[in-house]
Symmetry: C2
Subunit: 443 residues, 2 copies
């Protein structure tokens, strides 16, 4: 009988292995995809693309025990050779090749030049060749940073006593939001795809007090803008026993601070590749919705057209205002008008035209919506009634309030938008592995 | 201008705060939901349900500055009182109440008795009252263990150089598997919900070498069995530069070993609540599919009806066999018949009737399917052709092979099934927060 006893230690080396001293002059084995071959005659530079970065290997006529013609760009190979210091190589060393084993070969020339430092394609071409375009070093670095954000979110919240949950994405039609829902047939019953885990995370506050989820959400919005996706990853949390809605903003500030540290330490290479300057998170200004509108109207000489909503241009100006006045990358805009917030948002007892809610803007773009929720059963039913909503299909949601819920609130963060702002892209599709929009369902 | 400067330190205490010595005789503030009230006359025990467990508070007539009648089960409260050691209380201490602030009140008596140690309801009643049923201490403990499994999966793979990815769940109709797909309309185009991130994770092996995803998958299967769900959480990974498919099994063994340690250290309380004995993972036997069938046929005097598939009963017997013969909780069954595996599975060069693939059984139930994939472009097209498959709609998937892919493989683990086996439940709905099956679309 054979047994598996655990992870196999490989005899091939990764780039970070070389940072440990003592490999100079040693014979090693490495593998990777051939990113580029630069043939200089007697010598050729064969650059391998590995998960941790690029690795320079050197072919020397006569010394390397194979023919350079055996190697093709985009082939994957396993190379044996000797390590030498070389200041001009990435990482400060190179491998002089002795033998090569070809693991796989490409069958056509690359449709786009992924080995260029910057992809010289339109976004359309990039997305049409997405699995290949992502092999570009800068393209893939964005998604390592995205990983760091999600990791920071989870690790920070674990440390704050949150429990991770997994809630269903297929659901029955509910009373909330109708127009933006994708509909499907579920064994001859009408069903929808969840546009947010809102109701579920509230239900789970009654179970674990503090919960979070990092999962896809689906919005059948017909916007085809640079900042909308029809499917995106939402970082959601919900917490009970809050004093007021500033507890939620404080928690988000803590998450951002934690994550910037994590990115600085564990994703420094990718930040350098993309030349990212991390945003300041030590103090994030807060401003009321109505005040923010007033401030930008005055400073930028702009008329307020709609007192109940922020236009994208207004959000951008609020971002500019707080950058100019306070050197702030983020700003919390609080007390959104009640009529623009969902029924479960808690109205401000001081003025029920407004809610105890907020958006977080990052360089003038909304990346978070959050706030305190109504936790009183009669108050919730009362607000639904005022809005002319039916309780049909809402029984299970309402039950958690009927049987006791603590004061609570939470937020949702759009992962792709947060990544976009951080790496300085201007289209959210640039920071989505495989975007879904009005026209794009593939790949 | 006001600023948010980070997480607010609360003046209310959590249970783990008390494990630090020195609170005896001190006045503290705690909050929570009233799980039970046991009125003994002059004294009453008010047990709070907090995220970390139960906390015993004591009401004393005359000493507590309020009336016991102010408190109701299922209310949420904030209590001030003094800490005293009390051996018979959970955690070895109790809080003698001085003042109470009621944060919220219930509006109806509980529909099920959640404060019982075991819920005395049918599964049907449990699921019909799911958000309330989950407030039971044993019910919620299952999902803390589930959190630990996902956490172990991610943390182990981060340590092994994997990158986390987020791939779309809405897609165009593809050539693979048709019957089990949920269909929806995507802006007047036919679309499907992904039954697995298979193609995307393979595409991403070309980018990051090693990738993983923890996300929902959707299967429109018409099975209504104890082990099927129509939506579940899949723990997927895919890795390049493998020597052979045993690299995948070794990686899974490493994950299981890592996770059992994490559960022992960080989830000991929940393991104790559910009386879970963690499975042995130091060595996991492997057996060929055909040998496994033969072994159980002989030992249990059973006829082999279908040589190309394992019936659920056969899987259970294989589990029993390896428990009896090797005291093994897990067993890898390898070399599944090619005709029962998807087109991308790599056939065994020694006998193409079989594939270089495996399932992992846990106490006789399949919790993982994995294996090596075809990485050669002509080999892949050839196999598709043999199966009479069209390349229409598969262009983007095929492109990654055309432009070079390393040898690779991976697996998918059903999170809810793994949790079910670990906590000893016999229906996968017991370890799903909000299950989706043929008849259940709510809550």
């Amino acid at each position: 009988m054979e047994f598996m006893t655990g992870t196999v230690k490989k005899d091939t080396m990764e780039i970070s292995d070389f940072t440990k001293a003592g490999y100079e002059g040693q014979r090693v084995k490495v593998n990777g995809a051939i990113h580029t071959i630069r043939d200089m005659g007697d010598v050729a530079f064969v650059v391998l693309r590995k998960r941790e970065g690029l690795l320079q290997c050197v072919f020397e006529q006569g010394r390397s025990g194979f023919d350079l013609k055996d190697l093709k760009e985009a082939a994957t190979v396993e190379i044996e050779g000797t390590v030498y210091s070389e200041e001009r190589a990435p990482g400060g060393f190179e491998i002089r090749m002795e033998t090569v084993r070809v693991l796989s070969e490409p069958y056509a020339p690359m449709p786009i030049e992924i080995s260029k430092w910057r992809l010289k394609t339109t976004l359309e071409t990039n997305l049409n060749n997405r699995p290949i375009a992502l092999r570009n070093i800068r393209e893939r670095a964005k998604f390592r940073i995205q990983e760091g954000i999600v990791r920071g979110f989870r690790d920070f919240l674990f440390g704050e006593g949150f429990t991770e949950i997994h809630t269903p994405k297929i659901g029955a039609k509910s009373a909330e939001g109708g127009a933006n829902l994708f509909r499907l047939e579920y064994f001859h019953r009408p069903a929808i795809l969840q546009q947010s885990p809102q109701f579920y995370k509230q239900m789970m506050v009654g179970v674990f007090d503090r919960v979070f989820e990092t999962a896809p959400v689906f919005r059948a919005e017909k916007h085809n803008t640079k900042r909308h996706l029809n499917e995106y990853t939402s970082l959601d949390f919900e917490m009970g026993y809050i004093e007021d809605f500033t507890d939620i903003m404080a928690m988000e500030t803590g998450f951002l601070q934690y994550t910037m540290k994590l990115l600085s330490s564990d994703y420094a290479k990718e930040l350098a590749i993309l030349d990212v300057t991390l945003p300041k998170t030590d103090q994030i200004p807060t401003v009321r919705f109505d005040e923010a509108k007033q401030k930008v109207a005055e400073k930028y000489n702009r008329q307020i057209r709609n007192p109940y909503d922020l236009e994208p241009e207004e959000e951008a100006l609020i971002g500019a205002y707080f950058k100019e006045e306070y050197d702030a990358d983020f700003v919390f805009v609080t007390h959104y008008p009640s009529k623009k917030r969902p029924f479960y948002a808690m109205d401000d007892p001081a003025d029920s035209t407004y809610t105890l809610s907020f958006d977080l803007l990052y360089h003038g773009l909304e990346i978070t919506t959050g706030g305190q929720r109504i936790h009183s059963y009669p108050a919730l039913r009362n607000k639904m009634q005022k809005r002319g909503m039916t309780e049909d299909g809402m029984e299970q949601y309402l039950a958690v309030f009927k049987y006791g819920m603590p004061p609570h609130g939470g937020l949702g963060i759009g992962l792709e938008r947060l990544t976009m702002q951080m790496v300085g892209e201007d289209n959210v599709r640039e920071t989505t592995l495989f975007p879904r929009d009005l026209s794009r369902l593939e790949p």
